[in-house]
Amino acid sequence: MKKKLIIRTSLIVLLIILGIILFVIGKQHKVLLDNRDLTIDGVTYTAEAAYEIWVDGEKVGRTALNPGRRNVAYVVGPSHEIELREVKNGKPTGDSIVKKFRLSVKQSEVIINIPALAAGSDSFLYEAD
């Protein structure tokens, strides 16, 4: 009898854990990609270059993201990879930056600032208001 109780309780706990896992890996995040000027902690990053942006291996938007523009990507799950490929006059320059980032389940909508990312700042990602 007691054994059954233990098995049942642990099964329920297991299911709850499964639920949490599903929550984390199935969570969809809206990622706004800003190629705009940004000032963080007194440092200003200015948008100068256009980039082709790849999130988790998929290209966002059909064309490159010009300075001053914004695009949107939807990602699912906690950890992701973003790649910027610089474009000049419609041609890739070959320069590319790859960056990994993590999102918590609370972050439904985040903004990634491209100039900050390109400049190597760690605070390129922040929550949208």
């Binding site: 054994k3 059954k4 098995i7 049942r8 099964l11």
Partner: protein, 535 residues
């Protein structure tokens, strides 16, 4: 210290709400013994069996007095499951089987062997899968023990009746714990050849060391198979007999009791009747539990004919069949004209009426007032107690006439009630019965069937009901056919008494005949019955 008896009952008594049905019963059964139990209706057989089998009905009505020791331990079962656990099995008269299941499934019902399963750890043992090979094996074993020819894969609904009974027995045998098997009229629905096999099976079971309590109305069976015979009457054990030292006549004597000489209540008036009013030819009635198997009978105008017999033998089927309440076949000739069977309306129109044995179920509109109950049939069948308007287009109920009729009968039959507007449900059994009689009388019938008129009513009311019937018969010359389980009642009122056994007439006796003769007829001793009549 091992008890040599498997079952010992010491001074077991039982009453239902002050009505004693069993008095100081002492019964001892050894392992492997076959005990025959006989008795009239109401002798207490079924109550005794219910006590042993732990029927919850007994527990709920206050239990019993006395001691029961089973397998060396005192027991007091609260439900049949307790009894089953302890090792008592029961084979019922009506089959407790699933018709759509095979013999195997029925034999192992709720005792199926299973294969363990991981999911059972989470949910319940019930999610274990059935172990079919094991089930088949066990079913075959049980059938093998009985040494009968029973296909374990055959569906019960496709089996002949006898095989269904074997299935029931096999199920009880299959329970390894079974030490005592109660068999309540296991042969009642079987033909003789099928019954013979069942008897063999019973002997076989006993030889395996299982004790059997065997109830049957067929004395021949009791005498062939039992080690000893217990006769119950009025809740008491009358006698324990050994088959070798007794005969059917003696058993019948103990069962019905000897006439005490004076024969006080018996109808001794000899009346002559010449004209035949009702001629029944080869009547078959399909009434569940009371089947009539080809009865021929003549009823004389003006007489009171009693119909007796044990429960389930078919005596109730005759009236129900003729009145069209259950499907009937055959010919019934009333005053020289054939009655259309299965057409209640027409039969009522011709002047026959019926007071049903099922007072509350068929006899009354429990939720309607008395005046309705009494006048309803007459209103519907004869168009009485109606006011016609618009040339008969509107038939308005004449409540005043109905109430007057009701008041008349309330007075004549001395029905105790506040007014004719009281609901039938609120009356006592005896008064309800009188309402039923009044309903029939209101039709002014030429032939009146009355079934079990005194069942479930107290002694004072019984006498009143019977007196009313007698009076009605004498006053109006109405032919009355009264069916009753109580022989004494029939003897006080009838001019002739027909005893029904296994759906046939076992014999017709005058009320003055010896009780034992009646007893023998009830137990199916047709030949001696006829013989006695000729003496």
């Amino acid at each position: 210290m091992k008890d040599k008896f498997l079952l010992r009952m010491e001074n077991v008594s039982k009453d239902f709400y002050g009505n004693t049905v069993l008095k100081n019963v002492n019964l001892n059964v050894k392992p492997g013994e076959i005990v025959g139990l006989v008795g009239e209706n109401g002798a207490g057989k079924s109550t005794l069996m219910k006590i042993i089998f732990g029927s919850s009905e007994i527990y709920e009505t206050g239990g019993y007095n006395g001691k029961i020791i089973f397998a060396g331990e005192e027991v007091n079962f609260r439900s049949s499951f307790d009894a089953l656990q302890a090792g008592i099995g029961m084979v019922h008269q009506e089959f407790v089987l699933i018709p759509g299941y095979s013999a195997t499934e029925n034999i192992l019902l709720n005792t199926e062997p299973t294969r363990p399963n991981i999911l059972a750890e989470v949910f319940d043992e019930r999610v274990n899968t059935l172990d079919w090979p094991e089930m088949k094996k066990r079913a075959k074993e049980a059938i093998g023990l009985l040494e009968v020819d029973l296909d374990p894969d055959m569906l019960v609904k496709e089996m002949p009746v006898g095989h269904r009974q074997f299935t029931e027995i096999a199920r009880e045998i299959n329970r390894e714990s079974t030490k005592l098997l109660i068999m309540d009229e296991p042969t009642a629905v079987l033909t003789e050849s099928e019954a013979d096999v069942v008897l063999k099976v019973i002997k076989k079971i006993a030889s395996m060391g299982i004790a059997v309590i065997f109830i049957s109305h067929r004395l021949k069976e009791i005498l062939t198979v039992c080690d000893y015979i217990v006769v119950l009457r009025d809740g008491e054990i009358q006698k324990e007999l050994r088959p070798a030292e007794t005969n059917e006549r003696e058993i019948a004597e103990y069962m019905v009791g000897k006439d005490l000489g004076e024969k006080s209540g018996v109808n001794r008036e000899k009346r002559e009747f010449n004209e035949t009013i009702l001629k029944i030819e080869n009547l078959w009635v399909d009434m569940p539990g009371e089947q009539v198997n080809g009865i021929s009978l003549e009823v004389k105008k003006g007489e009171i004919l009693g119909i007796g017999g044990l429960t389930g033998q078919g005596k109730l089927g005759i009236a129900n069949g003729i009145m069209g309440l259950y499907p009937a076949e055959g010919r019934v000739i009333f005053k020289g004209e054939e009655l259309p069977l299965n057409n209640t309306r027409e039969i009522l129109n011709r002047g026959l009426a019926f007071v049903s044995e099922d007072r509350r179920g068929i006899g009354l509109l429990l939720d309607q007032p008395l005046n309705w109950n009494i006048a309803f049939t007459a209103m519907q069948v004869k168009g009485e107690y109606l006011k016609n308007y618009l040339g008969g287009l509107i038939k308005w109920r004449d409540d005043e006439a109905i109430s007057q009729l009701a008041r008349e009968y309330i007075e004549r039959l001395n029905i105790k009630c506040f007014s004719e507007r009281q609901y039938a449900r609120e009356l006592s059994g005896g008064n309800q019965q009188k309402v039923c009689l009044a309903k029939a009388f209101a039709l002014n019938p030429e032939v009146l069937f009355v079934s079990e008129p005194t069942r479930g009513i107290d002694i004072g009311a019984k006498k009143l009901v019977l007196d009313t019937l007698r009076l009605y018969n004498r006053e109006y010359g109405t032919t009355i056919i009264i069916t009753s389980s109580e022989l004494e009642e029939l003897r006080t009122i009838s001019d002739r008494i027909a005893i029904i056994n296994e759906g046939k007439i076992a014999g017709i006796l005058p009320p003055t005949a010896d009780r034992v003769e009646f007893g023998l007829l009830m137990l199916g001793k047709m030949e001696t019955g006829e013989g006695v009549l000729n003496e």
